[in-house]
Subunit: 565 residues, 2 copies
Amino acid sequence: MNRHAVYHISRGAYAYAIGEYTLCVRLRTAKNDCTTVKVHYLNVYNHSNNRKKVSMEKILQDEYYDIYEAQLKLEERHFKYFFELKNDKESVYYTSDGFISNGVKNENSFFFPVINDDEIYTFPKWAEGVTIYQIFVDRFNKTYEKPFINAKWNDIPKRHLFYGGDFNGIKEKLDYIHSLGVDVIYLSPIFSSVTNHKYDIEDFYSIDEMFGGEDQLQDLIKEIHNKKMRIVLDCVFNHMSCYNKIFQDVIEKGKKSLYKDWFYIKEYPISIDRCNYDTFAGCVPSMPRLKTSNPQVIDYLVGASVYWTKKLGIDGWRLDVADEVSVSLWRKFREEILKVNCEALIIGEIWNDASKWMNGDQLHTVTNYKYRKWMMEFIENKIDSSVFWQKISANNALYKTLSYNYLVNLLGSHDTKRLASVVGKNKAILALLTTLVFQGIGLIYYGDEIGLTGKDDPDNRRTMPWDKISAENIKPFELLAKLKNKYPCIKYGKLIPIVVNENILAFERSYKNKNVEVYVNFTNKDILIESRKSIFYYSFGEMIDEKTMSINRIRALSFAICIKK
Amino acid sequence: MNRHAVYHISRGAYAYAIGEYTLCVRLRTAKNDCTTVKVHYLNVYNHSNNRKKVSMEKILQDEYYDIYEAQLKLEERHFKYFFELKNDKESVYYTSDGFISNGVKNENSFFFPVINDDEIYTFPKWAEGVTIYQIFVDRFNKTYEKPFINAKWNDIPKRHLFYGGDFNGIKEKLDYIHSLGVDVIYLSPIFSSVTNHKYDIEDFYSIDEMFGGEDQLQDLIKEIHNKKMRIVLDCVFNHMSCYNKIFQDVIEKGKKSLYKDWFYIKEYPISIDRCNYDTFAGCVPSMPRLKTSNPQVIDYLVGASVYWTKKLGIDGWRLDVADEVSVSLWRKFREEILKVNCEALIIGEIWNDASKWMNGDQLHTVTNYKYRKWMMEFIENKIDSSVFWQKISANNALYKTLSYNYLVNLLGSHDTKRLASVVGKNKAILALLTTLVFQGIGLIYYGDEIGLTGKDDPDNRRTMPWDKISAENIKPFELLAKLKNKYPCIKYGKLIPIVVNENILAFERSYKNKNVEVYVNFTNKDILIESRKSIFYYSFGEMIDEKTMSINRIRALSFAICIKK
């Protein structure tokens, strides 16, 4: 047995509570090294040898490792346990004191001393497997002219152009959004700010009039809720606008300002030209970085979020630069927001390993940019499907299994090149459909559903070309939404990769003994599969059939959802 | 290269901040597999290839792995990094996207997105490498008769015997304690309770009169501080006495009690006979377990600790059953206690892997019972010295390097068999001396310094036999204390195992280019070593020489501190 590969630790994704009396534990082994892995476990205060025993299921496999998992259930909250690993050559116990061939004692166990209620890992149930639609407000839809508008609707974006999108414009398009199967609308920041993106907030306590102001927003939210959708707002705690009164006070009063410890100031007087203070992203003088470990700053920012959560009745937050905001702020944020709305969803913008923030005390979930990375590499033929699954597995291994249905999978955002500009329109739609049936929350960046193009910021923030959108664009999304309602496994099911060949992406979603299979062919050649009954078939930019039909090949540039015959 | 063995994650003991601009990172490899390991690193917002590069130092080695460590320093708080591993056969980069042979890009890096102030890992500096003396108050020293005393001072303890030890008794013996080189006195619980051990508190807001009450305690603390020692009190948040008014209220009022959610109640009415509520240690009806995730309970318990920290001016807390108290309580506790005394030391009672509680937001340190386990196995010849060091390394690997000088190493407590009863008096003293020069905080359980015996609880809580203690008992500890003052490396130095032979325990303590070597021979045979100059030599229960002398053997049952000639 490859002992070097075996890993367990009684915390993080390797041991966590999912109920008062249920502990989820993992063990890592070398890939394909073990034939069976079991856990032996017992109440900490039971000093007998009457241990319970459960087989572990192999849930992940990457390039080097297998990950096994099991749920341990006791009538008490106190767990001790060790593992039994077997392969054709040997059988050995893995304990907190290392490998033991025989004669394991209770004292050698790993300990999870207790499950306290504040450590039970939970999510707002409604958010499981939903679809989110991200709207960049200035660019989505405009219902009236405004004095500050300095661009025509179809102009290519430049950094300082304002197009005049507004809340009423979004309200007008709610039926369109809803028809895409969207469950949650997430708006780019809407708090007062002089920029078009508003990621530099000037007043955390006011809704920007450029977008229509608070009344229009309230009205929009009401209508979103009427249509049984939810709304998530975007907030930025990492930095603020240099025009924010709080920063202006420090510019003005220097060391005497009550707010001097709200920032990282290198010297006085503060100079925007010299950028002698910490900012967002290295040096962006207009965005001074906030000292989010300062309790006053925490109270101020969390206070504003609580205020809006209550007043607007929103369903959650998307939090910018979440991995640079202090741990103390996130803990307080989660505590206070969930007091106001115990079902609020907390999404952090994190591009890399986010496991540090997903332990149940800070964020619920994160923008899973690693999904984008590997999907792009697969579509662009840089990796084959087996490597794709290894990479997805390695990423998932960082997180607790319960979170997989909540990871926000995205193929683009206001911070990346547009999907269609990277892979072309046909493949873009295939990839987007894939994302909506992948395990997790699927995110559609407005316009990606019609293959809107755009290079890096600001080009990735083009306006919606409403005149060019037809029913044909919406149809696949509409049908997919219906299918998701009919087959809960597409929303809630676990994902099991299917090996067809290296060019095809295929997987099963399985939930309560029901399952569907998804096949995606990004290549220009048809690919044979075992004979299946398709229930959704999209090919070369067209819905081919929404009824069931028998297939044994996935045509070039096609996407199919199938069931076994 | 053994790729399965390579491990890094950008959190926990593998990546943590030790200053505003300093990140400590670790990498694990297979044992003796690499010849050099380096880290390449850069500010997150620097998109060039001008990476800094630093060699990692091998700091730990256990049965299977080497652990390498390095400190990364930037002028900004944002880190990205990857590793370069070399051996005779290959050179490879280890990144967040796995192994890459060449062409590593910045995007493949591991990220530590920012160092916020609340994440910088710190300790109260004064506590580094100190010696703690644990006193079980009822059994230490009695200065006057009391009506509740039901045992003669020299009686063998039974569960319900009271001996009458008091605060004045401790005060009377402060010179004795001080002469042992003790820096910190830790008292078993002193809050009102009907038991002799008081681990079941009846009133968190009152000092027990049995021990002399609050005035005597204040007086004792003043005197401890006068003698330049510190005091740590013991508190129990996991459970309370069933006689506590709060629990009595629930017994009386049942579901109508305002305190019903302070406990885990299985049915009403509560019955002490049926034990229909959760308790300490499975089923101890007199100790109902508190629901320490309930914010009201947290406020109450933390409130009491803050009250006493302020009022008594104590220097820290030892916290009972720390691994069953909620994370929320510990975070609040640390925050509030450090507001009152930013130098307070927070020690948790944890017997197993305590890494979950030692991330800088909860406990400073823990009772390192694993040290006891492996030391006992070594002394009893169940493992040899190389296995001892592997086990110590494997345990240390769980913790951040900065904590090693603070781990509370102990060889016995009120919860274990007495040291001398396990290994005999001669070896007990050798082991205790070893503990006091081992890396970490050394704990002396009162009486262990004279080889006091005792089996399991309650026998391990015998009274101090003051009539049998002579200057000879104190001498080695007294001399050792002087030596520790003269050689700061014994207090602050890192520990490097020395390989002599399998029967001898030998290690170097090294600090700022000064070092000493420690040799301990628990066997009945002399053991040869390379020629050294001893500066402390204790053999067969006697101080042999406090002056320097040349030695080339460690006699049977001997302990020596040496310097190179």
